[in-house]
Symmetry: C2
Subunit: 191 residues, 2 copies
């Protein structure tokens, strides 16, 4: 158990400003927003940015953990208020909407469900997969979902739906439609 000493006041200040600015920049410009530009907008040097966040992915993840947690929490909320199958569909819908509207989020969610990506075992990946697992299990019990679909597969397929919808109009206008086509295929097999 290493003694963790609290961050110095200036460090904490910079850290938080960076997160705030980064979240905005990634949302607007996607995952490839300029890091030096983010540093500048946060009023710090690029050295400071890279010390706090060794690479782009680290910053991206830090900027969106809370949003991911919110999505995970939303799963339980939906599970309480609707039938499992419906809750699942609605949750995936919201996931896709978030992926398209907040541009950096999609990349992050994608790498969270990528097999064998370095550093994939992150807080983000864990909580989103946990939420998916709970929803999938409930939906299976209700017979609203085939038994051979793994939670992580569902997340990957949802990512695919978001990608397809993005190609359509760039604003997610087709998510609902594409998702319902997919869900139709994921229902328990026809008699």
């Amino acid at each position: 158990m290493t003694r963790v000493r609290p961050m110095r006041a200036d460090a904490r200040r910079n850290y938080e400003r960076l997160l705030k600015v980064a979240a905005e920049a990634f949302a607007e410009q996607g995952e490839n927003a300029s890091l030096d530009e983010i540093a500048k907008r946060a009023g710090v040097g690029s050295g400071t940015l890279y010390r706090h966040f060794p690479n782009r992915r680290a910053l991206l993840e830090a900027a969106y953990v809370d949003r991911i947690q919110a999505i995970a929490a939303r799963a339980d909320e939906l599970a309480d208020s609707r039938a499992p199958g419906e809750a699942l569909t609605e949750w995936l819908y919201e996931l896709c909407v978030g992926s398209i509207q907040v541009r950096g989020l999609k990349a992050l969610l994608g790498s969270a469900v990528t097999d064998g990506s370095p550093g994939a075992v992150t807080a983000c990946a864990t909580s989103i997969k946990g939420a998916a697992t709970r929803m999938v299990e409930a939906a299976r019990r209700e017979g609203a979902l085939r038994a051979d679909i793994e939670p992580v597969e569902l997340l990957r397929l949802a990512h695919g739906v978001a990608t397809a919808a993005e190609l359509a109009d760039g604003h997610g206008g087709q998510i609902r439609r594409y998702l319902s086509l997919l869900m139709e295929g994921l229902r328990a097999p026809r008699g």
Copy 2:
């Protein structure tokens, strides 16, 4: 009718070497392969590359037109040898495999079915959409496909499937599975 004078011999030579090298580079490294590096490998200056191909997309497209045409031709071949629904599924499967194995191809196919992308009206887009249209119409007639699915939507969804499969293992091992799940949802509605 403008008089088209043939390319000078050195120009044609360079043009073709660039295409060859670019196809290799994009296949290996994806759509973001370094253009200067491609020029160097082809033994020409970067100025020459940019004169022949004003931007990355132009080079990408030129490097893969023939491959896209082959995919489009393959559609007719499959249509002749199998039932429409099965032919469609197999064609989409091959499309996805190509998208994953030849890395730059996916980006190109994606932009070909993007609504409102600049320069979307290209030879690639036209021939791939044409092939999709023929397959979709045949499948519809057979009742193997819902009537409300547009050809271009199918291409977008296939792109989504390729994306999902790529997340799974990076090599397309799940394409068949994910595609069959999708196709299940695209069949004519249950009674």
